[in-house]
């Protein structure tokens, strides 16, 4: 089956490649672009480890064909840190509040939380739990993940206030 020419913007940079339409976005990111931050967990759209932003919305990249993402803007965990290389407030908060143990779910968890805080900068605990309900963590019991996202929301709010 013939390959198609795929172009997209990933973490702000234009990229292109040749891929079969059936290639899953997660495989294109990991194997063609060497962006191995987004993980393949369940490969069945349950676990959320492969979560990326597609045109400003969180999606599970194991259940998106690269053909569907042709022309799109994609953000992965590699695009979350600040431009100067320092960690994003969410990444700092996950470290500070022990929001990870084995770390396998963390790229998807942080990428999802990053989008959640743009949709709802000041979420309640219940809104955070519903917001990350498509991301499974087998280690933490979620408590410290929720704590990390709450802390990051507060940190981002105070940074925004300081900037104004």
């Amino acid at each position: 089956m013939s390959k198609m020419h795929v172009k997209m913007t990933v973490n702000g940079k234009p990229v292109e490649g040749l891929a079969e339409p059936r290639t899953l976005l997660i495989h294109f990111l990991r194997e063609d672009l060497n962006l191995t931050g987004p993980h393949i967990g369940c490969d069945t759209s349950h676990c959320g480890a492969c979560t990326v932003d597609l045109d400003g919305k969180s999606v599970k990249s194991c259940t998106v064909f690269v053909a569907q993402a042709n022309g799109a803007e994609v953000t992965t965990i590699e695009g979350i840190a600040n431009p100067d290389g320092t960690l994003h407030a969410l990444q700092e908060a996950f470290r500070e509040h022990h929001g990870l143990q084995c770390g396998f779910c963390t790229p998807g968890m942080i990428t999802r939380a990053h989008r959640l805080l743009q949709e709802n900068p000041n979420p309640t605990e219940a809104e955070i739990r519903m917001g990350i309900s498509g991301n499974l963590c087998r280690c933490t019991g979620y408590q410290n993940i929720v704590k990390s996202i709450t802390a990051a929301a507060e940190q981002l709010a105070s940074m925004k206030e300081a900037a104004e």
Partner: protein, 287 residues
Amino acid sequence: MIPGAFDYHRPSTVAEAVTLLADAGEDGRVLAGGHSLIPMMKLRMATPETLIDLRHIDELRGIDENGGTITIGAMTTQAEMIASGLLADVCPILRETALQIADPQIRNLGTIGGNVANGDPGNDLPALMQALDAAYVIAGKSGSREVAARDFYEAAYFTALQDGEVLTAIRIATPPAGHGWAYEKQKRKIGDYATAAAAVLLTMSGGKCASASIALTNVGDTPLFAEAAGAALAGTDLGADAVNAAVAAAEAIAEPAEDGRGPVDFRIKVAGQMVRRGIARAASRAS
């Protein structure tokens, strides 16, 4: 899991999509959000040779209300349904139900059209569409036709949609102001299909139930419009006898399969319980 190979098309109009689908013949499929079809393709339970991606057809998106009819484009995502202020005002059960589908990431791609047209009895929106007496607008090579949601479902994954046809929109008569509504879903965890679920809509007048409409999710090969359950409530004050009669009428038509969600008798009783809770919550919201 790697799906089989296919040719990919991205039309920008319905007419173009219908032509592509006709040209592809029986090995062509339309692709909406992909969250049913892609998993099936990964398992090689579906092996379409041509995929026609509907996501870039603007005329298939959007929600509006005009002259007492709500029209929702088939490619409107579940997230867009949840975010719609219009739907929250005029038909809030759509939002309540959409919020119980899968998880946020999946609702960002999953569409109303894919959910209702796929014919999966586990999907939540088909029973709701039956309770709302929605109509499905279907385009084919020879033009457009409408099929009532109550007549659309034939068996699991078998619907009135013919080869070469595309669902383009869902039309719903705007429910009267002050109607009561509830979608009650029992599930094992976020993202699971219902053990059983019930959509309940009713109107009250002078302390009596003027009309009621009830449908059930995932307790049969198709969604089940529980006509007798609704009829058992109409004209009553929703007292215990009427509610018990409605619950019994709903349980009488439930034919769930035994699976990880529980044995048959349990799932029938859960369906009854969803109806009971749905009636109570819908009544509390009616005015």
